[in-house]
């Protein structure tokens, strides 16, 4: 076991923090700042700089110096901390996904962050920063070890070849954002609310305080999403799914086979005429949830068939019985359910339809719930809990059907598990 250190530019990653604090303070109270600035003499400024900069540099250097990581046959070990020591041993067979991300500045510096998604890991368990090539080699090695290659050869297995499944053209992405209600909603909000506030209060500060967050939200939902989802590429490799995206910040994700807990096909109202869909997925311990930001339905379904092998998206769904209208007027029409040999599929939403698929092997527990009003109409909900802390609900089913679903689903979940691939996906392959 050889311990390694992170890339030497790491100490600089928090260099912007003191500047941000000063800028935030200056913005918060401009008059006070100006008065303080006029009082500052050159000598005090120089002394301050002479103390602050070496102290910050020393702190950055020491945190870097005391952070080590090592890859053993079964674990990734991270040892860090100057005063408060912390060591994390992350089991590779529990690995759910590997993310390599490159913020814009990191791209300029030629470094990237690597994060192993295991249930319970968070921001402090990422390796930031590693050299670009080093991160790629390390990811290949971690995946090879997690896949069950012999420890001696895991080092030389290298990157599994990827085959491109889908690429989202920039034009389609832009059109899809234009056709999304949330984009327009936040833009209209940002344009309408500040004048109204100005008319009501006539105070510049109030208007600014209202307008800035609104503009931020509008930017994030339009430009931010475009920049984040630009050049979205989904590939397939023996190590699982590869998702690469981003215009400024690049993200490369790898989700090994059998890690996907649920898949959702979302269809906003305005996309329906073009038959476009968005596909979201849930992996336990991973924060990313988008698989395909926008794609024609058949392309999206072919990607889903690769993500969940043997799964076909059920076409016809059974609606709740028509007496469900007394429990949920109008919206009951959006509910639908289909159970196939491989998945439990439940749809909801009238305008923005969302169809959730759970492979039987991923079901953790099944619950049937019935309130007094639903019982009066002989209806019940069935909740399916999955490992990514997501619950998929089949709403307002006939009570006897729901009871059958409850027992049947527990049974299917058990048999489905038997047929699933092992955690170490290359072992025995």
């Amino acid at each position: 076991m050889t311990e390694r250190r992170l890339h030497p530019v790491t100490p600089l990653r928090r260099a912007w923090a003191p500047i941000a604090v000063i800028a935030g303070w200056a913005f918060h109270d401009p008059d006070q700042t100006q008065r303080q600035l006029t009082r500052l003499t050159t000598s005090t400024l120089l002394i301050a700089i002479a103390i602050v900069i070496p102290a910050a540099a020393l702190y950055g250097f020491l945190t870097w110096w005391f952070t080590h990581f090592a890859v053993t046959d079964t674990e990734l070990r991270i040892r860090t901390g100057l005063l408060f020591r912390r060591s994390a041993h992350i089991r590779l067979d529990r690995l759910q996904a590997v993310d390599v991300t490159q913020p814009l500045l990191a791209r300029v510096a030629g470094v990237s962050k690597l994060k192993l998604d295991v249930i319970g890991t968070d921001k402090k368990d990422e390796l930031a920063f590693l050299g670009e090539d080093e991160a790629r080699v390390l990811r290949a090695e971690l995946l090879a070890r997690a896949a069950g290659f012999a420890p001696e050869t895991a080092h030389e297995v290298g990157e599994a070849p990827a085959q491109q499944l889908l690429h989202v053209p920039a034009r389609v992405l832009a059109v899809s954002l234009v056709l999304t209600g949330a984009t327009w909603g936040s833009l209209v909000g940002a344009l309408v609310v500040p004048p109204v506030v100005w008319w009501a209060s006539e105070s510049v500060w109030t208007v600014l305080a209202v307008a800035l967050p609104l503009l931020g939200a509008a930017g994030a939902s339009s430009v931010g999403r475009f920049v984040g989802e630009y050049d979205w590429t989904v590939g397939d490799s023996p190590d699982g799914l590869r998702i690469d995206h981003g215009l400024l910040d690049r993200t490369h994700e790898t989700v090994p086979p059998g890690r996907v807990q649920t898949v959702r096909i979302v269809e906003p109202l305005l996309w329906r005429r073009r038959d476009w869909v968005r596909v979201e997925l849930d992996v336990a311990g991973s924060s990313n949830s988008v698989l395909v930001p926008v794609a024609p339905r058949e392309v999206a379904e072919s990607v889903i068939a690769r993500v969940l092998p043997g799964v076909t998206v059920p076409g016809a769904l059974s609606r709740p019985p028509s007496r469900a209208r007394w429990c949920m007027p109008l919206w009951w029409r959006g509910y639908g359910l289909a159970v196939t040999d491989t998945v439990f599929a439940s749809r909801h939403g009238l305008l923005r339809r969302s169809l959730a698929l759970v492979p039987h092997a991923k079901v953790q527990s099944v619950r049937m719930a019935q309130g007094p009003w639903a019982r009066l109409h002989g209806l019940a909900h069935v909740h399916i809990d999955t490992g990514a802390n997501k619950t998929v609900t089949a709403r307002l089913r006939d009570a006897s059907e729901a009871a059958e679903l409850l027992y049947g689903q527990a049974d299917r979940s058990r048999t489905g598990r038997r047929e699933a691939r092992p955690d170490r996906w290359m072992a025995g392959a």
């Binding site: 527990s365 049937m368 999955t386 409850l406 598990r417």
Partner: protein, 164 residues
């Protein structure tokens, strides 16, 4: 499909109710809170303001009687069954809920017992799976039964372990 097979291979589940200790404890707590409240409302009002005002004491009294009956219904609604491959828990009178947890999905089984519960000789069993939404708790068990259940569930869980 799975449903037909399950009815073939699995006989009707054998349901177990909760021991009466939990009902005793809850009813006692109810009495301990509401009888002093009834007296505390009735006596001062009746003596100081007028006998008619003592009727206000009927409110906590009605609550006491209603609660007495509701606790009984709620207690009767709780039941669980150990099947060959999963645990069933059923509960609730108005808001009914039935949970199925396959043994292979259990990550952790917990036996807890607070001071009041301990005084009445009761313990709860709580099951955890990888899904936080899984709500599988059996309250008010006999400690010996709770431990037996815990050991049996852990054993079955190990034999059928499936994880995520």
């Amino acid at each position: 499909m799975g449903t037909t097979r399950s009815t073939e291979s699995e006989p009707e589940p054998v349901w177990t109710g909760l021991p009466p200790g939990l009902l005793r404890m809850r009813r006692l707590l109810l009495v301990v809170w509401l009888v002093p409240l009834t007296l505390g409302t009735g006596l001062p009002l009746g003596l100081l303001v007028g006998p008619g005002w003592a009727a206000f004491a009927l409110l906590p009294l009605a609550l006491l009687l209603w609660g007495w009956a509701m606790l009984g219904r709620n207690w009767r609604s709780w039941r669980y069954a150990e099947r060959a491959d999963d645990l069933l828990i059923s509960r609730g009178v108005l808001w009914r809920e039935e949970t199925v947890v396959p043994y292979g999905r259990m990550q952790l089984v917990e036996v807890t017992s607070g001071p009041v519960e301990r005084h009445f000789g009761l313990a709860s069993v709580q099951l955890h799976t990888a899904a936080a939404a899984t709500d599988a708790r059996i309250p008010g068990l006999d400690p010996a039964e709770a431990e037996r259940l815990r050991d049996r569930l852990t054993e079955l869980g190990e034999a059928r372990s499936a994880g995520l």
